[in-house]
Each structure stands twice: as C-alpha cells, then as structure tokens.
Amino acid sequence: MGRRLCGGSFCAHNRAFERGGSMKSVLGNKKSIAVFVLPAFIIYAVFALFPIGYNVYMSLFDTNLMSPGKFVGLKNYISLFQDSTFTHALRNNILMVVGSLIAHMPLAMFFANAIFKKIKGAAFFQTVFFLPSVICGVAVGLTWSFIYNGNYGLLNAFLKLIGLGDLQQVWLSNKNLALFCIIIVVMWQYVGYHMIIQLAAMRNIDSSYYEAAEIDGATAWQQFKSITFPMIKPILKIDAVLIITGSLKYYDLVAVMTGGGPNHATDVMSTYMYYEAFNILKYGYACAIGVILMLLCICSVGLSNKVFKSEKDS
C-alpha cells in the first residue's frame, strides 16, 4: 500500500506505518511534525531563546537602558574577573554547590536507601523529609532568619540551654559564618526532594537482582554497591545536574536572609546581578554576569555526564 523504500532497516519501520493508517500521514510527514511543535516552540522562543539572546547582546554594552548604550565588547567580562566582589560571589556559589552536593547526593541516597529497605516508619519519614521542599523559599528564609536571630532566635537560645552560651552570636551578620548558615538551610530544604527522585529510581530496579544477591549471601552494603548504585546512575546524572544548576542559580534564600550582606559577604552571582542591575543601573554588566552563570550551568551538564558515564551511554 505505501511506497516501498529501499530495503534494509527502513522496511520494518514502514510496515508499521502501513498498519496504523492515519499515524503514517502525521508522523511520516515532516511538515506536520513542524506544525505541531510550532506553538510550543514559539512560546519557548519568545520567553526563553529571545531573552537569552538579547541578554548576551546586552552584555556587550555599557548601558542603563535609558540612554543609548555604549558598545564595549568584552570589557564587561574582563572587568568581572577583576572585580573582587564578583570573584567572591563565584566562590560563594561554588561553596554552595559543594554543600548541596554533599547533602543532596550521599545523604539523600542514604535516606532513600533506608526507606527503600522499608525500615520502620518509612512512609512517615518519606513525607516528613519531603515537606521542606514544598514550602515557598521566602517563607523558609524568613523562618530561618528568625531561628538565626541574635536576640530572640532559637539557635542562640538552644546554645545557651546546653551550656554553649559563648558561641552565641548574630549569625547572619557574621561575614564568615553567614554563608554557611545559608548553605545549611539549602541542604535541609532540598534533601527530601532529591531523596524522592533517587527513591523512585531505586524502586524501578527489578527485585530479582536482590533476591539473587540474598541467595548468594551478599551483605546490605554489597547489595547497595553492586546493585542499587550502578542501576540508578542515569538518574544520579540528571540529579547532579539539577543540584549543580540549582545551587548556581540560587536567589531567594540569600536575598531574604541577608540581602547579600554584610557588605557583599554572602552575595551569590544572582543577587550580585540583581544589585548591579537595579541598584547601580549597570544593566550591561549584570547581563554579563547572567551569561557567565548560563555558561557555568551548561558546563555542569557536561561534567555530570562525564562523571556518571555508565555502560548504557556508550
């Protein structure tokens, strides 16, 4: 019925088309594919591709968006790397990535594995661990600001209670400690989210592997190392990308808890970008920061692919 293309691998494909009549006319026709993809693509182009392109374009200018901008080429990027505030913000972001990776990979995996092995109260823990990630970031930031408050915060009161009153301080105003205080909140908020992702991956593993391992006398750790971990590697790859890009882009907690202060000590790239654009009116400079942020996120995808390469991919 349909046209006979040349033999080989095409044949089986074509025969499937012949069996499902109308599907052939849709899926086989490149124009139809384009038509169906077009609406979503237009929205994507308008709200994502075009702004990104314009952002890259604006980063080559020195502009406050009111007067015509001055073309400065790559000067913004060069200034950025000589700007100690930016390098400090970059360092803060990297610390945040490291902190998030520690909490959201091994720790989340530990919890996921425990729940997977159906310890007592697994369902309860699953819900409780996941709850913080559904609370809005600003609310989390405000709550923890109160916990860290110097005068009436929970943390200081607790320290006093257990006799460590000397350690009390105004946590979020300490330029050395404030960032770590924020990182702890990030770790707490999303550990459940990544735990759920990994748990779902673990549940997809065929239980016959575990039964075979039991028969062979493998310990729990051996089972994890040889069965669970390798089989969830593809998910871990995606998870790692989520963690790294999320930490690089982080804005709401930092903005609410310290505003990037004191004196830029807890500034991350996104809050510094906001400061440069809206307080100092240097939009071109802020766009350059945005471009660098985007490039770093893209690199993290490549990095994650490399680290989590499994046999399936090659």
């Binding site: 860290y148 110097g150 505003g259 004191p262 004196n263």
Partner: protein, 434 residues
C-alpha cells in the same frame, strides 16, 4: 471515590487561581474619582501604609483632584522605601514610568535626567518668579542640572538624635553639647542598664549606619569633607572619614547600641525606641509624624531631639540633611502644565502649613511659622534645623553607585572590620569606576 476527590481538589486549586485575579485593582489607588471626565495622571510616591504622613499626602491629592482648573485626576500609588528604587528603575528601563514621580536629589535624579526621562521645569519657574522665590536657598540648586531645574522639593530634612526626655530625667541627664558629654551620657545610660542608642544595620537599612558615620565625619571635618568627596578632590579614605569610622567602632565596642544590632532591621530599631527600651534614636526628621503618633509610639509625649554634638567644636551645626520628598515630572506625562499645577499646589503656603503642623514635614519654602500649632517635637526639630550652618546630603543620594558602596562599607565597619582597610577598599573601588 478517588476520582471524585481528585476532581474536588483540582477544583479547589483552580479557585485559588481565580482568587488571585480578582483583587488586583483595589490595591493601589484609593481615589474613587475615576469616573470623572478629565484625564488621569499617574503618580508614584514613597511611603508605606505604616507611615503616618501618607494620610496627609492622600488628603492633599484628593483636594487637588476636586479643585484643579485642568480637570485632571491624580492617581497616586504609594510604594514602600525599600521597594521604591527597584520599582522605579524597572519602570524607567521599560518606558512605563508614571507621570509624576517621587525622587531623591543630586546623583539619583541625575541618572534619569541623563537618560532623558525627566521634563525640564525651568521655564515654569522662570514664568512664575513668585513661586521660584518661595523656595529656601540651597534647595532648588540640588535638583538643577546644566542650569535647569528638573525636580521640585516639597520638604527639607536633617538627621537628628531623638531622645526620650523621661529616661534622661530619670537618670539626671541633660542634653549633651559636646562630644565628650555625649559619650558620658551614653556611659551613664549603660551603667543603669538602658540601651543608649537604637540602631539598625541590615543590608536594606544600611544607610542608617552610614548616616551615623557621616554625622561623625561632619563633626570632625565639617562641610568641606562632603563637598570634597562630591567634587572628587577628597577621597573616601580621607583621615577625617577614617577617624569617624574609628570613633563609631569605639562606640560599638563600648556597647552603646542594642545587643545584636547588626542583625536588627530599621523598623525593629525604631520600635525599640518607641517602646521606651532605648534612650536615643538617630534618624531623619521625616520620622516626626511616626514619633508623634500615640498609636505607634508609646513614648510620644516624651520625645524630643538634639543635634549630635560635633567632635570638633569648630564644626558645630553641620549635619546630615537635605531635601525631602521631591517630585519630578517624567517625559511620559501628557499634561505637564497640570502636573506643575499639582506641584505648585503642594508647595503653597496652606498645604505647607498643613503638612508641617499635622505631619511634621519641614517645608522647603519660606514660611511664617505659627509656633502654637506645632507639636513640641516639631518645634524642637525646627529649632535644630534652623541652627544648622550647613547640611551634607546622604551619600547614596549624591552618587548611586559609590553611595551604596559606602553604605555597605559602613555595615562592614559596624561588624568589626578594620575602618582603614574598608575605606581604602572603597577608595580603590571609586577610582576603578571613575
């Protein structure tokens, strides 16, 4: 059954969506006269619902809407101080700014004048000499760029040290006239377990610390330091400024400010003073209406103010201060004549009187004072104000970029950073961004 629950929950979520849509219109404008024939001019002002003077401004605008000869209706929107800069900047960048805007003077307005967003009002002042002459000397100059006036000030202000008369009497303290006396007053209060000065220093309220340091620097080097920094002939790490920062740190270490003040926000610090837990509070005269208001300020009857005494007697009565509540007309405005009429109305003698007597706003125009109508705090503030020989505007008004960084540096100093190193960094930054 399960499907029914799912449909019910989905429906409830959708209702939540609709709830958000409905109320948008009522949030900003409280003027109900939209049905009037004439055109509408949009106006954005600085003020939170908790600021007492917002009521006065609303009354003034309503009166203008009823009586103006152009038949225009002004539609005001009040935006809180911490959000104002972001909101206006975004609107300016997207060309959607309102017709009349609140603005700060000097460098702040200059950004927008250079961006060709603001109407030149010089010709209106030239035509109405009486109006032009009614302004106090030194006011219009701060909003003049290239020989033309772009902004109209409606008030003046200075930073003053508010104090609680009751607490002072209780410990037998009198208003200090020299810096050493000021330190002694603080020490006495400390010995008696009272917080001497309420201060805030979170990132958004950084200017509260920098105005304190600036006031100290005014006392050390007078007006010349500010003018020098503004003109670029003096540096941010000038010895006088470093000395001011060091003195401030001494005060911090002596414990003059409330415990944990580095994490306290502006409103919390003010609440400390208003509830009588702190004896003194350093802020601008715009706070008078809040401090006079018994609903908000429990110690309203006991509040008075004095000028912070200078470190060096020769620089007496040089304080941080400037214009307040200036307005500019943007190029989006289709009826500039009507907008200017509003500004003339705002600064006329009757309204200046109303704003002063009822809301403590010191006028920018020449004015015959009827002392009997002033609250005692207003009287004290005006006395202080009239004694000043020079006013140095806040640094973040002088220059947006460097002023903001000075605020940040002040926070660092408040947190214990070395003043010399911090100010050296600031100077390096200023030179790099010439």
């Amino acid at each position: 059954m399960k499907r029914g629950i799912a449909i019910l929950l989905t429906g409830a979520l959708c209702l939540g969506l609709l709830a958000g849509c409905g109320n948008k219109g009522n949030a900003d404008s409280s003027s109900s006269k939209d049905s009037k024939e004439g055109e509408v001019l949009s106006m954005m002002l600085n003020g939170a619902a908790s600021d007492a003077y917002v009521e006065g401004y609303q009354k003034l605008i309503d009166a203008f809407n009823e009586s103006n000869e152009y038949g225009v209706t002004i539609k005001p929107e009040f935006v809180s101080n911490s959000d104002y800069k972001t909101k206006l900047t975004t609107m300016m960048a997207s060309d959607s700014e309102p017709d009349i805007i609140f603005t700060w003077e000097l460098g702040y307005l200059e950004n927008f004048v250079d961006g060709e967003k603001i109407e030149n009002l010089q010709k209106y002042l030239d035509e109405d000499q009486e109006w032009a002459d009614s302004f106090n000397s030194g006011t219009l100059e701060q909003e003049t760029y290239d020989g033309s006036v772009y902004g109209i000030p409606t008030a003046q202000c200075m930073a003053t040290m508010y104090y609680n008369k009751g607490i002072f009497e209780k410990y037998g303290l009198s208003v200090p006239t020299t810096y050493d006396e000021y330190r002694k007053v603080c020490d006495t209060l400390l010995e008696n377990g009272v917080t001497p000065v309420a201060l805030a220093s979170t990132a958004d309220d950084a200017w509260l610390v920098s105005q304190y340091i600036q006031q100290l620097s005014d006392g050390i080097a007078g007006n010349e330091l500010f003018e020098g920094i503004k003109a670029g002939t003096k540096s941010w790490n000038d010895d006088a400024m470093v000395q001011a920062a060091k003195l401030f740190q001494e005060e911090v270490d002596a414990g003059y400010f409330e415990k944990g003040f580095t994490g306290v926000s502006g409103s919390e610090a003010e609440a400390l003073f208003q509830s009588g837990q702190a004896a003194m509070y350093f802020n601008g005269t715009w706070e008078i209406s809040n401090l006079n208001n018994k609903d908000v300020c429990q110690v309203a009857d006991d509040v008075s103010c004095f000028t912070m005494p200078p470190v060096d007697k020769v620089n007496a009565n040089v304080s941080v201060g400037s214009l307040d509540n200036s307005f500019a007309v943007t190029k989006n405005c289709k009826n500039v004549d009507a907008a200017v009429a509003l500004l003339k109305y705002w600064t006329n003698a009757d309204n200046a009187a109303m704003l002063l007597y009822d809301y403590g706003r010191m006028p920018a125009t020449k004015f015959d004072l009827d002392e009997s109508k002033l609250s005692s705090l207003s009287k004290d503030a005006i006395t202080c104000f009239n004694e000043q020989t020079a006013l140095t505007p806040w640094f973040d008004r002088m220059n947006t970029d460097l002023g903001n960084e000075f605020n940040n540096s002040s926070i660092a100093i408040a947190n214990g950073e070395d003043p010399q190193a911090t100010l050296d960094n600031l100077q390096k930054y200023a030179e790099a961004n010439e």
